[in-house]
Amino acid sequence: MFDPAVLAQILWTGLATSSYMVLFTIAFSLVLKVMKLWNFAQAGMMAIAFYAMYAAVNRFAWPTAAAVVFGLAVTLAATLAFEIWGLRTLRARRSSSLLFFIFTLVCSEFAAYVLTLVFGTEPVTLFPEILSPVRVIGQIAVSDWDLLGVGVTLALGIALALYLRFSRDGQFVLAVSDNAELAELYGIDAKRVYLVAFSIATVFVCAGMYLYGSRTAVIPTAPLQLMLFAVIATLLGGMGSVLGGALAAVGLSLLQSYSVLFIPSQWQGLILYVFLFVTILFFPGGVRRGFKAA
């Protein structure tokens, strides 16, 4: 069981499977870092992204590329509306974190209900077939989906890093996430930066849902569960550290993949929460590092 080929196979498949989790976590922790917002509406964004692409592929019979663009456009529109007509008002009122929590969660629920009304509740995959071609490299089976997942995640991750590091807007994003008030004093428009951050998050959400939905069946309420993983990864990765969150997502995924070798499989789902508990109980300071209390 512990021969290198097996371990390597688990490593590869685990990495590939973690790809969409990483994308969701990056989206979640970026929003947290920049806006100090636990954006539970991300589940709604995820659901909208998936069903927009699903409609384009299966109802309008559009080519894949067009479907992805359509998904991006619809999700972006919904997200920006959410920011402009929703969050801005709450922010202006200095609402409590509970109100933000309710608002974001209820937005997700609302999206799920609307989508249920339109698409029903049957589980559907993005494309009719979920099997993707496989090649064996070394002794390891590598599917096209694996390659796409890892490739897209790496490409988007690197693009985000470069964007934040080198572009002017990226610098603004960093400045605002560091200290929004100070940044405004220096003439940076925080509102605009928030829109930029949400746009970036939209791209990651759409990419993640494309990967997830082309392999697994989705129902309108499924993204809520998916998002909770991102929340936990964000928490463990040091709140507000995007890279930390992404690494935590990879680590947690791999841990779940490997754990089958060590502990009874029915307890696997619990590993995530055990980690969360240990962190909360023993390193309350540790996870708060890098998190600026609002």
């Binding site: 498949t13 685990g14 979920i130 089976a141 069946a217 993949s257 089958v260 696997q268």
Partner: protein, 385 residues
């Protein structure tokens, strides 16, 4: 039957509630023989629930078209459960206290279990049609199933794998929920009792999407047969990842796998998959053939979960036979007597699923039909009785 009646009712009830008034007495359909049906009409299971309700509605129409029961019409009251225990409890409360039905039909284990206390308490007969969890048999005096419990078909698949396919070792992969956990135990026991050995016994989380760890354990074990007991959302994924890892063992599953979606999602990878059906197919019974034709002509498709809809078609027929017994014995229409009627008739001759015998253990015995995927179609493999 349309749903409109129910909506009026619901509105009336809500109106009464809002006004703080007791519910008004409604005019009863003159002498109709009433029973309830609580199924998921919305929610994640509605695709199955709606088709099953359709089956039951056709049965009621057919019975009434032939003159009903001793000249009286059968009347079915349909309520939504969303396959959710909470909603189910509300629905059944309504069926019993507002609609005053002596018997109701329901499905989905969570709902069947949740409403069982109400049936026992109010002495109203609950017929479970479709919940397969073995503990359905132990839910109380007023809860009976007309559907064989999981042990029946899973045992049949396990025995078949050892005895007919000659597989000496098997792997059991199951979803970690009540469906999977119970069935996996049954498979292991049956396979080992037949003489085989279960070398891999692994559960996976309902939320999991990566099964490679579990599948590599399977690869290391070299089990000759694989039984997957999950849901229609994850069975195709497990098989897909299995094939992608180069695992070529023959796979069996249970009735959830008897679904064209699996073939669509897996393509060639579905070949050889063994599934079960607890209801006879078109070739086994002419009535079933006609029934499928009826679906094709009326709805333009085959129903989701065909075998389940067959059982649902048969359920009102059972109710009609029970009413018939009750009227002949000149007993009052209530839940207690309905239970007597069920045990009194005991042996039901049913159009879609054949003979059903209800026994004191709250179980039913039925033959199991095994099917396999060949060139993208489900074809009969064997019948195990």
């Amino acid at each position: 039957m349309s749903f409109k009646r129910r909506d009026v009712l619901k509105a009336a009830a809500a109106g009464a509630l809002a006004a703080g008034l007791p519910l008004p007495l409604r005019a009863q359909g003159a002498g109709n023989l009433r029973f309830g049906l609580a199924m998921p009409l919305t929610g994640s299971q509605s695709a199955y629930g709606k088709d099953q309700v359709t089956g039951a509605q056709w049965a009621v129409e057919d019975i009434n078209a032939k003159g009903g029961v001793q000249g009286r019409k059968l009347e079915m009251i349909v309520l939504d459960t969303q396959a959710d225990p909470q909603v189910g409890i509300n629905a059944v409360n309504r069926l019993i206290s507002v609609e005053k039905v002596p018997v109701f039909i329901t499905a989905w284990s969570a709902v069947v279990k949740a409403v069982a206390p109400i049936a026992n308490r109010e002495k109203v007969l609950e017929l479970s049609v479709g919940a397969s969890s073995p503990d359905v048999a132990t839910l109380g005096d007023y809860v009976y199933t007309t559907f064989p419990l999981a042990d029946v078909d899973v045992t049949a698949v396990a025995r078949y794998a050892y005895q007919k396919l000659g597989k000496k070792t098997a792997a059991v992969l199951y979803i970690n929920n009540d469906t999977g956990v119970d069935a996996a135990k049954v498979y292991r026991e049956a396979f080992e009792k037949a003489g085989g050995k279960v070398t891999v016994y692994e559960a996976y989380d309902p939320k999991a999407t990566d099964y490679s760890g579990m599948l590599l354990k399977l690869r290391a074990s070299n089990a000759e047969m694989v039984h997957i007991h999950g849901l229609i959302t994850d069975i195709p994924q497990v098989i897909a990842q299995m094939r992608q890892l180069g695992l070529k063992q023959r796979v069996s599953t249970y009735s959830a796998g008897y679904n064209p979606i699996i073939v669509k999602q897996l393509g060639a990878a579905a070949e050889g998959l063994i599934v079960t059906s607890l209801a006879p197919g078109a070739n086994d019974r002419p009535q079933v053939k006609a029934y499928i034709e009826r679906w094709r002509s009326k709805e333009g498709r085959v129903p989701n979960g065909l075998p389940y809809t067959q059982y649902l078609y048969d359920a009102p027929v059972m109710v009609a036979q029970m009413y018939d017994w009750l009227l002949k014995q000149k007993l009052a229409v209530n839940g207690e007597n309905m239970r007597k009627a069920l045990l009194g008739v005991k042996r039901f001759e049913l159009p879609m699923t054949g003979v059903t015998e209800v026994d004191a253990t709250h179980r039913v015995k039925k033959p199991v039909y095994l099917l396999t995927v060949e060139k993208g179609n489900f074809v009969p493999l064997a019948t195990v009785s």
